[in-house]
C-alpha cells in the first residue's frame, strides 16, 4: 500500500531542521550500528596505567585516546560510541512499546466512543495521576535495574501522549464518509481501525513518536545518573555522567562529553519531529 506520506519524502530534504536533525540522528544510528568497527578500543577494557587521560585538545591529551579515558582507564570515545547503542535502543523500544499501547487504546476510544471511550479515559486519567519517576524508582528498587526493566517501565508509563493524540484524531476520522463507505463495502470494525483510519494518522503519530523517543532517552539518562537505570559497567551516557561527578572539579570534560552527546541527540530527534510536523501538514510547501 502506498501512503501519501511516502510521496512527500523528496520535500523533506528541503526542510532545514528536518535535514539537520535527520543527519545527526542518522550519524548516531550508524555509529551505534557499527560500534564494534568504529570504536578504537574495547569500551569495557580497563587500563589502570592510563587513568584520567584528558582529551586531545588539552595539554596532556594524546591521539590514542581522542576523548581521553575515565577513572578506570577505559577509552572515553569507545564508551561514548557504544553508549549510543543503549540510548537508541531505549528510544526505539520505548517508542514502540508505548506507541503500541497508546495507539491501540486511542484508536479504540476514538472509533467506538461511548463506554469504550469512558473506560480508556479512566485508565488515562489514572495513568496521568501516577508520579512516573516514583513508580520507576519503586519498580527498579524491587526488581533491580537492567535495560529490560527500564524499557518495560518507561514503555508502560509513557503511552499517554500517544493515546490522547490518536484518540482525538481517530474521533475526527471516524466521522468521515470513507469510514461509512468502508463499512458499506463490508469491512469489519477492526479492519476499519487498522487499515482505514490508522494510515490517516501517520503524520501526528510520527511527531509524537519523536517526542516520546527523545523523552525516553532523557529519562534513561536521568535514571542511570541516579544509579537506577542501566547497571555498570555498561556504557550508558547517563551512567557516564554519574561516574564522572566525582571528578567534576578537576576533569570537567568527563561530564561535558556525555552531556553534550545526550543534548545533541535529543535536540536532533526534536528537530526531526518539528520538521515532520511541518512536512506532513498539508499546507506545507517547500
Amino acid at each position: 500500500m502506498t501512503a501519501i506520506a511516502e510521496r512527500r519524502w523528496p520535500d523533506a530534504f528541503r526542510h532545514a531542521s528536518l535535514a539537520a536533525g535527520g543527519g545527526v540522528v542518522l550519524l548516531v544510528a550508524l555509529m551505534a550500528l557499527l560500534a564494534p568497527l568504529v570504536a578504537p578500543h574495547d569500551p569495557f577494557l580497563q587500563n589502570l596505567d592510563h587513568r584520567l587521560i584528558p582529551p586531545v585538545w588539552e595539554a596532556e591529551g594524546r591521539w590514542a585516546h581522542p576523548l581521553g579515558t575515565d577513572a578506570l582507564g577505559r577509552d572515553y570515545l569507545s564508551r561514548l560510541i557504544h553508549g549510543a547503542r543503549i540510548s537508541l535502543l531505549i528510544a526505539l523500544a520505548v517508542g514502540l512499546l508505548s506507541g503500541l499501547i497508546g495507539t491501540g487504546l486511542g484508536l479504540a476510544a476514538g472509533y467506538y466512543g461511548g463506554w469504550v471511550d469512558t473506560a480508556v479515559l479512566f485508565v488515562l486519567t489514572n495513568r496521568l495521576a501516577m508520579p512516573g519517576v516514583l513508580i520507576t524508582l519503586a519498580v527498579v528498587a524491587i526488581v533491580g535495574g537492567s535495560l529490560t526493566v527500564v524499557i518495560l517501565v518507561l514503555g508502560f508509563l509513557n503511552w499517554d501522549r500517544f493515546a490522547v493524540v490518536v484518540r482525538s484524531a481517530a474521533q475526527r476520522e471516524a466521522n468521515r464518509d470513507y469510514v461509512l463507505a468502508a463499512s458499506a463495502h463490508g469491512s469489519s470494525a477492526l479492519r476499519i481501525m487498522l487499515a482505514e483510519i490508522l494510515p490517516n494518522l501517520v503524520g501526528p503519530l510520527l511527531v509524537v513518536l519523536t517526542v516520546e523517543m527523545a523523552h525516553a532517552i532523557l529519562i534513561e539518562a536521568a535514571l542511570s545518573f541516579l544509579g537506577l537505570g542501566v547497571p555498570p559497567p555498561n556504557p550508558s551516557w547517563g551512567l557516564m555522567v554519574n561516574e564522572a561527578k566525582d571528578h567534576i572539579f578537576f576533569h570537567p570534560w568527563m561530564i561535558f562529553i556525555p552531556g553534550i552527546a545526550i543534548f545533541t541527540l535529543v535536540l536532533a530527534i526534536n528537530l526531526v519531529g518539528d520538521g515532520l510536523r511541518d512536512v506532513l501538514a498539508p499546507e506545507w510547501r517547500p
Binding site: M1, T2, D177, L180, A181, S183, H185, G186, S187
Partner: protein, 311 residues
Amino acid sequence: MSLLDIGGLWVETAQLPLVRDVDLSLARGETLCLAGESGSGKSLTALALMDLLGPGLRRRATRARFDGIDLLDRGATQRLRGSRIAMIFQEPMTALNPVFTIGTQLEAVYRRHRGGGRAEARRRALHLLERVGIGAPERRLAQFPHELSGGLRQRAMIAMALMCQPDLLIADEPTTALDVTVQAEILRLLEDLQRELGLALILITHDLGVASRMADRCAVMYAGEIVENADRATVFRAPRHPYTQALLRCIPILGSAAPGTPLLDIPGVMPSGVEAGCAFRARCTSAAAECTTAPPLRPVERGSARCWFAS
C-alpha cells in the same frame, strides 16, 4: 418473488422515532426512488437496511428479507455488505480514503469478499473503471482520490461498488454534489449498468427530476413516513397524496409563469417531533377533521397513499 422485502421498519433514538413504519419491496432489475426533502428519513431508511446506523440509533422491523436472507441478522447483513448489497454516497470527495490509491481501494474490496490474487483483482478493477467510463484506467488506478475530479471520483465509487457484482445497489444522492452535465452522465451510466447487470437500484434523491427520469416506482417520504408509493406514471402524472401534489406544483416550468411571479412553495416546515394525526396536516390545503387521526398507508388506484382522502 421480490429481491428485497421490508415491512414495518422503524428507526429511532431513545426519545424519538425518525423513520416510522416503512414498507418497501423491490424486484431484480427494478429501480425504486426514495424521494423527499432533507430530514425526511430517506438516508436513514437505506442505512437501516444495511445495518449501518450510527451510535444512538436503533432499528426494528416486522420483516426484512433480501433474497431469502434475514436482514435483521446482523452477521448475515455484514456478509452481504459490499458483496451482494453495495452502496454509493453523496460526497465522492470524502467517501474515498485519502491516503490510498484508487487501485488499492478497489482491489481491497474484491479480495476481501472474493479472495483471489492481486492480479485477478486488478484485472477486475481495470475492467470496471473502463466500464464506468474512466479513460486511461491504468493511470487512474495509481492515482490518489485528490488527483481526480468529482465526477471521476463518483465513477470510481460506482466501480468500487460493482467490484463484487452486487444484486442491489443503494445510491444515496449520488449526483447531488456534481454539476448538472456530470449528473446527467452519471445517471445514464447507472441506467446502463442496471440494464446490463440486472441490478436492483434504490436511488435516494430530493430531486424530483432525477426521480421522474430514473424510477420504475417512487416512494415519497415525509417526516419519516412513506406518504405515497406508486409507479412512476402515477406519482408524476396523477399523484394521490396532497404532499406529492404540492411538491410537483412547486417545480417551476420555464416560460409558464409571468416574470416577477414568486415561485410556489409549501408554506410551513416539516414537524421535527411526533404529533398526533397526519404529519402533513399543518401544511395541507385539504386538511379536515379526520386528519387529527393518523391515516394508514391505504391502497389506492395503482399504489398506496397515506391520506384519508386519496382514492
